[in-house]
Symmetry: C2
């Protein structure tokens, strides 16, 4: 079996971390009898520099003709003063999500015993944290109609948070299915006491719930969820929420882990899934071999699991990473006294050894 | 000088904590030569029980004819199954904010040396945390047009995030003024890379900034703000943001303090300001004299400062509370080993002694 992977390193540390994940995919392939073809494409700032477009048509075609996409990171100060819609992140990510129908963003967030003391939250508060945040990714305020008007010389600007029943159903079903393979708890986050779109969201969750009698469903207001994530993160298993709330909560939840350098993500929905680390392009350390490749390697593991249903292979990668951490190897972002500092490539070498 | 205060204890612990704040106001009045008339009104669940309405017309009239409002807490399980618009919180708070033009919600959030280890965040991360979150309170998704439609048999529900330039200007000016009396830093939080209303927000902040050359202005995306609040809360002085983002971030920030029982709030804009603790009605401990009255007492201090410009009096109350904490007195929510547990009234007694 040969999988065609679109490889989009993007900007900053993207060019350093993505090749590491490819090394791991190669190694797993050799061991388990899978093969991959990797085809590189331009995206983000580097694509603007070379083609004038953050998401060139050629890259979109490459993605469409692949079995999965591995993305590094996008953006940097060089492109920050462009008009918004041409800026690397917005100009590439939003159209890519829409064009490929990537309506579900999956962000696992867990703590590692070996890194238990690296978060700004207390160790005992984080004990047992292991959740997945599922964010709706192609609806809501991001894609609803927006604009400006002049009313009697006064400017008004608006955005529309809009959801249809089928849009809610598909993401909520995916969340129920995800919970089924985990601890069987689903928390749907909304603001149903104020928002009509949240009321439709909540009704839809409640209508589908009887089809998943094995899953314990709860509802939580988004303001309370932002508190509970810090107060008692261990209470969450699967969290599902709309686009803007998910943007905020998943970034907030990323602080529960030791480092952004540990967090993977998947964006799913269409035939082709997109996998990328949760962190950004880190221009301050780009080109210095300091970046932590683990988030990208874990994103490749998610690819194996979600796009190719290669669960054993995904688990093997995760186990290798845990073993490397347990042995005390650390990149700069997770370094502590008494541990062994390694660079981007060396960290990957250790992971490959464990595999 | 006699100030007319509308007193709305509301539900749950409201009836226990509000009288404590009135005792403190009386004491401060006696010492500094101010007098108050306190007139009680019904609001929330208790108002539903007695009048069928969460915000009776009589209560609204009382508020309009007062110089300031002191509110306890609203809601409880008894009323949770009512239709949303009749529920105590939504049915009382939203119309009250709108009717009185309370467009600015002010939430100070600081840590107390005496309680430094009581948050779920590490002590060293919280060191120096002292911010004010200013949330726009009468615009955005809360009050924009909303509704449902059927498009070819498919339900759609929407809400509108809408802001006009004058709405943004008045809250942003208030934030600049607030920063002027503090550490002179203003962080405006938006999602200007995606939302048109955020772009108008950001333009407005930038347009006003030259009028406040002494204030250092920064902009931050809301997802990043949710991270930074946990990563390095000490970086913030004054934060200003729109209604929904402010709802989420101010509740999140409340976790930086030792207890919700310590956090005051003010809602300003019209002639009459509304002051209330940031916590809820805590039905689980209602009627047991366990509630922490400090948040309500601090809200009364905010009333003295913001509505009556009695700054020395407000500072005196705050200093008294710090002294009581330093002496080791604690209500249940902030109790630690080696400290002295006191009930609602005893905590107030201690504060009065210090005054
Ligand atoms: C860059 C931005 C448009 C994007 C978003 O808000 O979706 C980013 O924050 C993310 O979460 O992937
Ligand atoms: C009860 C609810 C409508 C309210 C809000 O969202 O404004 C509350 O969460 C608050 O922050 O005061």
């Amino acid at each position: 079996m040969t999988y065609r992977i679109a490889v989009l390193p993007g900007d900053g540390i993207g060019a350093e971390i993505v090749p590491q994940a490819l090394r791991v995919l190669e190694a797993v392939g050799a061991k388990y009898g899978l093969s991959f073809t990797f085809t590189e494409g331009l995206i983000g700032g580097i694509a603007i520099d070379e083609t004038g477009q953050p998401l060139p048509q050629e890259t979109l075609e490459l993605c469409r003709n692949s079995d999965a996409i591995l993305l590094g990171a996008i953006g940097g100060p060089k492109w920050d003063n462009l008009p918004t819609h041409l800026r690397p992140e917005v100009g590439a990510l939003l159209p890519l999500r829409k064009a490929l129908g990537l309506y579900a963003n999956i962000r696992p967030c867990r703590t590692y015993d070996a890194l238990a003391d690296a978060s700004t939250l207390k160790k005992e508060v984080l004990a047992g944290t292991d959740m997945v945040i599922i964010r709706e990714l192609t609806g809501g305020l991001y894609f609803g109609s927006k604009g400006r008007t002049d009313v009697d010389g006064v400017q008004q600007a608006w955005d529309t948070m809009i959801y249809s029943t089928p849009e809610i159903e598909r993401i909520v079903r995916l969340a129920f299915e995800t919970a089924r393979h985990r601890r069987k708890k689903l928390c749907s986050v909304d603001k149903a006491n104020v928002l009509e779109s949240s009321r439709l969201w909540r009704e839809t969750v409640n209508r589908l719930a009887p089809e998943y009698p094995d899953i314990a469903v709860t509802h939580m207001y988004v303001d309370n969820a932002a508190m509970q994530l810090i107060r008692n993160p261990g209470q969450f298993d699967v969290v599902v929420t709309e686009n803007t709330f998910g943007d905020i909560l998943s970034d907030q939840a990323s602080m529960l882990s030791a480092s952004l350098g540990m967090l993977a993500s998947a964006s799913l929905g269409g035939r082709v899934g997109l996998y990328e680390p949760a962190h950004g392009s880190a221009p301050d350390i780009a080109g210095q071999k300091k970046a932590n490749p683990i988030a990208t390697i874990l994103s490749a593991a998610m690819m194996l699991e979600y796009s190719f249903n290669r669960v054993a292979e995904a688990r093997a990668i995760e186990a290798a990473i845990e073993a490397v951490l347990a042995k005390g190897f650390r990149t700069g972002d997770i370094m502590e006294a008494g541990k062994r500092l390694v660079n981007t490539e060396e960290m990957t070498d250790r992971v490959l050894e464990e595999l």
